[in-house]
Subunit: 151 residues, 3 copies
């Protein structure tokens, strides 16, 4: 049963690697969106950041544009990280390649759409649906994995 | 030494899978508690969420009930994610099943209690003790793992 | 090809374990820095925390010293967790030990410096450079890993 391993010999793991890296990179890109919002709106949280722009600015505690990106990033941390962790354990539980690909692809599409919808303030329930789709994938992987573990 | 592997053949990994999935799911459930708080208190962060409720509401920056759930969720991200990552590396370091189960169970109980205590505003030091118990497990796994790694 | 495995038999994994544990522990220590800031500044977020100090304090929503540590901790969550996840997948993709050590060491040094610079409010671009160095390592590992995965 060497095929159920966390190595690239296992086609399920090989697929997981791709989707996991894609959603982690998407999450990391939010940092640059935040930086862009801070710079174009001159809304910085730290005195040393304000100073480096040589202007007589105050530190900004709340800027709507910055906070929207921050909330989107936070939502990624709350959903993408669990996806990667659960996904890894799910792969180890030996799912079929077809079932696994369905989970990985649905989550990846849902989370890229979630960001698109969030950053463009698309009217609800667009964001709620993207969010729920990701959650359903995570719960499905959790249940499938849990049924293989021991106590 | 195939037994020290990240596969279900390894009883330590098999146990880890169960506890890891439980604490990740507990963390994810916080999203629903937040949504519940936002809806019952009509405290939304996004204009499009307010609009979807068809009321003349303002965006809410701070609501005590929402923020309590958020802080609890954040504390999970800061402790449960490290537990799962350290746990995975700890399993690979080949601990005994007894020692590993002690770590996994103590952490899981401590973090479920932490949420219960946090959401019900139980008086201190209840929350501090739950938090510290989780931290001690994480540090213990980190030290045990570190002693097996190379530089 | 048993050498490309997530076990201590694999020297790349063995090295990864060390650096991963170091940066996760560094991230967790931020909790204690936050607690220290809250106590010395008497700036607590929860009524039960205020009560446990027996003083007639109010809950504090924003304290500059606390928030600086919080932002530093948050930045760790946004960067260190992706490092550990990407690193694990990167190790499974079978890099050379030399290339892997370069990535792990550069990231570890960059993130310890990042914290030092952040908590001491060192003038920019010190923090930006530490941040970017970590990001570059993560992107490099992501790209190397992605080239091995399947869709």
């Amino acid at each position: 049963m060497a095929v159920i391993s966390l190595s690239l010999d296992n086609p399920v793991f090989s697929a997981f690697v791709t989707y996991a890296v894609l959603v982690i990179m998407k999450t990391m890109i939010m940092s640059f969106f935040t930086a862009y919002q801070r710079m174009t709106n001159k809304a910085f949280s730290n005195e040393e950041d304000v100073a480096s722009f040589g202007k007589k600015l105050e530190v900004t505690r709340y800027h709507p544009g910055v906070e929207r990106v921050r909330r989107c990033h936070q939502n990624d941390l709350e959903n993408v990280i669990p996806f990667v962790l659960l996904g890894l354990l799910y792969v180890a539980s030996g799912p079929s390649l077809g079932a696994a690909l369905l989970h990985f692809r649905a989550f990846t599409v849902a989370r890229f759409l979630h960001t698109l919808v969030y950053l463009n303030s698309v009217r609800q329930p667009a964001r709620a649906l993207c969010f729920l789709c990701g959650i359903v994938v995570n719960i499905s992987m959790a249940v499938a994995t849990l049924s293989k573990g021991t106590f």
